[in-house]
Symmetry: C2
Subunit: 360 residues, 2 copies
């Protein structure tokens, strides 16, 4: 399912006269190969290094540990990993493989993602290609959208668990337990989870991992949840109350909600990211609330935050096929906090909301 | 609390005439600085690269994103990470810092962990120091032991949750939900979790992440659990039954248990890893069971598996202060499976068991 990605990347390399390349940015390795890198427990101590992708004259090959699965149509060169019958030689074996490939390039230049490539594999004649593929990842393929829709639905299950389970006296980490358990229960397997899970009486109540802060009567809880599965990430944010929100909370919630609806109406091909950002902030300020101290949104895919960033400085214009998060928020330190975040798919004439946790 | 580690490393560098070094192996960065690298969600997309440690003439400095905390007595050079008001320039800023440090070395050689160091930071005159610090990490400091004891206790809470909650009809992932929730509930925050969580009727019932395999009457469940917190890891394994084990299961369980007790009796300074491995396997075979298809144990610390590996080929001799895992197992594919694993601290005249999940 990653042939379209490889076609785009091959076109780019050809247009820039790049015959060989060694790609190491995990976001690109996944995007080119379908190989989901391990996230939850970090790199295996038995891996010889991160998984890499070798590009040569129009073709891409994944280089990864034995047992690694990529997309069905991905060529893989694998090396043995764990053994208990002798010393683990994964590093040496991976070095042999990469050495052999680099030798094919001879003295010709090799494109290399030097920010992620281990120094031991640095080509003698390296052309820096860090960032080259970032713009190509912005527009999602049909297959990516199928996967991402499924993951956004899964993410919604986590929100439902928080909304239904939240009670006065629980701690942030207790609510988090409900969320994480429900997502993995629905997935039938472990999932990487990115989050903010913070109670509104925190001084900085806009984000952070769940701690043992207790939820009191009159608090709200922000749950910003991303699920990472099969190499792709989601994002989403909801704000929940252990009882009925009071008048102040309800007013803030409504203002943020209306800002999100307004933001959604701005999304269409050609719209500038900075313009969406500016108009979202103005809309919320007009409702009488302070500007939020974070971006208005961002792209998402094989990495949790990517272009297009919906930020004050970004002139980038939206294109059909992009998936962006929109996340206005209102914060009154140590008191009230609301953030609401949807994913939208930019369509030919507007957008489609991909997340349903705020309406279900 | 990492001065002892830095003293050991500085002694090594001095003895080998290394004046400058750039360390990038996450296990060493944590070990030298106390800085716990992010595990659960992978490297932040706003990080300019992995955290690094710079060594210069006896002194160590952590190079990491703003907001990073190391040990209290660790020198830190930090660079700005996320901003929404302009493009994120963490990579450029980190490159400036590292470039400035490398310039100080001039044309003198710089030790570098080339397997983990990003290629963009490769020193012109690099001396490969990959693996140099591995032997130094084996013997734990008093401070490390305080932290690890606490983490082993926390790990035990996960086992208790599985033992008490396991029921016929649950799936592996449901049991896992109990385990993960209990560990994070007790920790009061999120924790990285490494695991096997497999039901005995799986064909390969020795390991794997929890899936949606259902637990049936007559099954056992292997829970191999590692908790990663504050930069350090634990490990542990227990085998649990949804009811009373039958005669065959009880006999296998007893044999593995006795192998573990026997293994523990072999641990003392001077004992060779390969000899412990050999005798553990023989002991279990004498009880009438097939050899297990994995190592007999391993060291643990800032990485889940490290030296000393308790394996057939390893001549390494134990020293007081090492923490090793011992994990004999018996497996009858698709039928019965038992693995029991304790952590032991090698003492002057034997060892002390650090895990209590099998006896409490």
């Amino acid at each position: 399912m990653h042939t379209e990605q490889r076609r785009r990347a091959a076109d780019l390399f050809k247009s820039r006269g790049t015959e060989f390349a060694l790609l190491a940015n995990p976001a690109n390795v996944t995007w080119l190969s379908g190989h989901a890198l391990p996230v939850l427990t970090g790199m295996s101590p038995f891996a010889g290094g991160p998984s890499l992708v070798w590009y040569e004259d129009g073709e891409f090959t994944l280089i990864a540990m034995e047992g690694t699965t990529g997309g069905a149509d991905t060529e893989v060169i694998s090396y043995p990993w764990f053994t208990y019958q002798g010393p683990i030689t994964s590093s040496e074996k991976l070095a042999d493989i990469v050495g052999g490939l680099l030798k094919k390039a001879g003295r010709r230049p090799v494109g290399a993602e030097l920010r992620h490539l281990p120094a031991q594999f640095k080509p003698e004649e390296a052309v820096v290609v860090d960032g080259w593929l970032d713009p190509l990842r912005m527009v999602k393929t049909a297959d990516e959208l199928v996967l991402m829709r499924r993951l956004f639905d899964l993410t919604g299950c986590g929100h439902r668990a928080a909304r239904q389970g939240l009670q006065v006296g629980m701690r942030e980490i207790d609510v988090w337990g409900l969320v994480a358990t429900e997502v993995e229960r629905q997935a039938g397997r472990r999932a990487a989870l990115a989050c903010d899970c913070v109670v509104s009486h925190r001084q900085d109540n806009s984000g952070g991992w769940p701690q043992d802060h207790q939820i009191r009567q009159g608090d709200s809880l922000i749950l910003d949840l991303g699920v990472g599965l099969d190499g792709y990430w989601t994002d989403s944010c909801g704000t929940y109350y252990p009882g009925e929100p009071d008048r102040e909370q309800a007013a803030l919630h409504r203002a943020v909600e209306e800002t999100l609806v307004y933001a959604t109406s701005l999304v269409k091909p050609g719209a500038a990211a900075s313009e969406i950002d500016r108009r979202m902030r103005e809309f919320l300020k007009k409702a009488g609330y302070a500007d939020y101290p974070h971006h208005s949104g961002h792209g998402i895919g094989t990495v949790t935050h990517e272009e297009p960033r919906i930020t004050p400085y970004n002139p980038l214009r939206l294109q059909a096929g992009m998936v962006i998060m929109l996340e206005p928020g209102g914060y009154i330190p140590s008191k009230n906090a609301v953030r609401l975040e949807n994913a939208v798919l930019v369509t030919e004439d507007g957008c489609e909301v991909l997340t349903h946790h705020l309406s279900s």
